[in-house]
Point group: C2
């Protein structure tokens, strides 16, 4: 929720001109996105989102992210399309930052998703997996299992400041998960961060998927597990099986899960919960108390992790055999 880099009026005018977009009618910083600076740019032709990539995005990953959005949009997946300037470049520099201009998507994100939204999210996730299949650039998941223990070691001596016993709980979970992690499941490009604030709806229609800056190559079913965690829990940490059924039904209406994927879901859901527990714990301990962007409470994902640890059969997620 921030604009980290200020763009002067004359620089945005010159920037828009280099894309041939006509006069800039309005230019406003958007209070969205923790990682980058985002602006809404209205020109005579249309409206666009300008993103300046800040420290936490690695410039070497940008051709993957921008290329993926371009690839998905070309395959009719509803996501922002990077624009190319008059010289054909989709990645530029502005105010000393890597910068890109993408098409604007209308719609609102839902704060309290209902089952219908979960179904549409699941369907969109499967469409993303299908549309991404022939995308040629690869990107390793920087927050995959290989990275969990090193990330934990960066704050393990402070983990119990978050809640008593958290350090041991994470250590035990790593000891269980890492040896059991599947070596081989269907995979390809995943979104890896498809939370409700990354999907726009108009009424009950999905109007767009945004924020591809965690996208990478990994198991498709791991992306499903991320969504189960992100969309199907209630504020009291209970799992809403109606939403789980809807999300999985939506997903399988486009891409049915293989038996191997279904059987792996509880483990993948634990891994996904652990991944967000780790990053949120780290941010919780490393965000100044007065910082403007409040970190998420890690406890949300500790509670999810415990739910998945107790799962006996994948039927408990609401999976329906198609």
């Amino acid at each position: 929720m921030a604009v980290y880099t200020e763009v002067p009026d004359d620089e945005i005018e010159a920037f828009a001109a280099s894309y041939g977009l006509g006069e800039v009618l309005s230019f406003k910083g958007i209070a969205e996105g923790v990682e980058n600076s985002n602006y809404l740019v209205v020109t005579e032709r249309d409206q666009y989102i300008l993103t300046l990539y800040e420290k936490r995005v690695q410039p070497k990953d940008l051709p993957f992210f921008l290329g993926l959005m371009e690839h998905l949009a070309a395959a009719q997946f509803t996501c922002p399309t990077p624009l190319r300037d008059l010289e054909g470049r989709n990645l530029r520099e502005l105010c000393g930052r890597p910068a890109a201009l993408v098409s604007f998507l209308s719609g609102l994100y839902v704060r309290k998703p209902r089952a219908k939204h979960c179904e549409l999210a699941g369907r969109a996730l499967a469409q993303l997996h299908e549309c991404g299949k022939n995308f040629e650039i690869q990107r390793k998941n920087a927050l995959g299992p290989d990275g969990w223990r090193p990330l934990f070691e960066r704050f393990s001596d402070q983990a119990d400041e978050i809640s008593a016993g958290l350090g041991d709980e994470i250590r035990n979970e790593l000891d269980v998960l890492l040896p059991a992690w599947p070596a081989d499941l269907p995979g390809g490009v995943i979104h890896a961060d498809l939370f409700p604030d990354n999907i726009f709806f108009r009424g009950d229609e999905l109007s767009g998927v945004i924020d591809f800056y965690f996208a990478c190559n990994d198991f498709f079913a791991y992306d499903v597990a991320i969504c189960l965690n992100a969309w199907c829990f209630e504020p009291d940490y209970s799992f809403n099986i109606t939403k789980g059924q809807a999300l999985l039904r939506g997903y399988q209406s486009v891409r049915p899960l293989a038996d191997s994927e279904r059987n792996a879901l509880p483990l993948l859901a634990r891994g996904s919960a652990l991944r967000f527990l780790l990053t949120r714990s780290y941010d919780w301990l490393n965000t100044a108390p007065d910082a403007f962007v409040k970190p998420h409470n890690p406890n949300d994902y500790l509670r999810r992790l415990r739910f998945h640890q107790a799962i006996k059969t994948v039927g408990e997620y609401g999976i329906e055999v198609p």
Copy 2:
């Protein structure tokens, strides 16, 4: 630069419906305005700015601010027009905050104003003074001379932490200014905060004046003095007399200054510099180092104050007798 209050999607949809604006197509927090939460709302009909008034705005002042914008807009002054809902109310409540919806103005604010922009700013200021003349609600200037010494006393023991000798310098200035402050000059509604980021331009045309949340009743020439400080100094603290001439020419093309106002300008400019020196010093000392909104450096206004102290004749501001 912030959104302090999050508005859920269902609440903004119901809110827009209560104004009869059709479907909400987009809703984004804007990273502008230190005091309030601002959103850009795009509906089927048009685009609007939604403001939720946060702690620093007194609810009792809102009928003045909203009434003034409505009054000025009705007089063809280019400023946001508060909308009235289907029950005729321009002041509402949303998410527990006072809230108002105003029309959207296109244009960009200029980071480096040129003389032409200063002239248009001066002209707009005079138009605002003229258009506000028959506005019936009154609001005392909360940051006028009566408030300066009490504000100073809140941080006087820390003033020298900002720069050595600052406390004495402010104390001496208060001792000079307060007894000499004019008792009677032409006055009415003033903007009181017409900085370059509060005026939008399209090319070389002024397209709107925003942010009336410091507006109050005070001397017109004091508002001119605020603008001289805000528009006509260079980054090296030198006064640009070409910009001063342009601003004053623009102002006087609509409302010529009386002799009493011209003669008072150096004193009013000192007072205006002191007012911003005081508020910026207070904010400087009372903003956490990690806070997202960085306070302005008080030194900018200390340097302006010293310039005005050395002024011998109003000709040094570039005033031209019309």
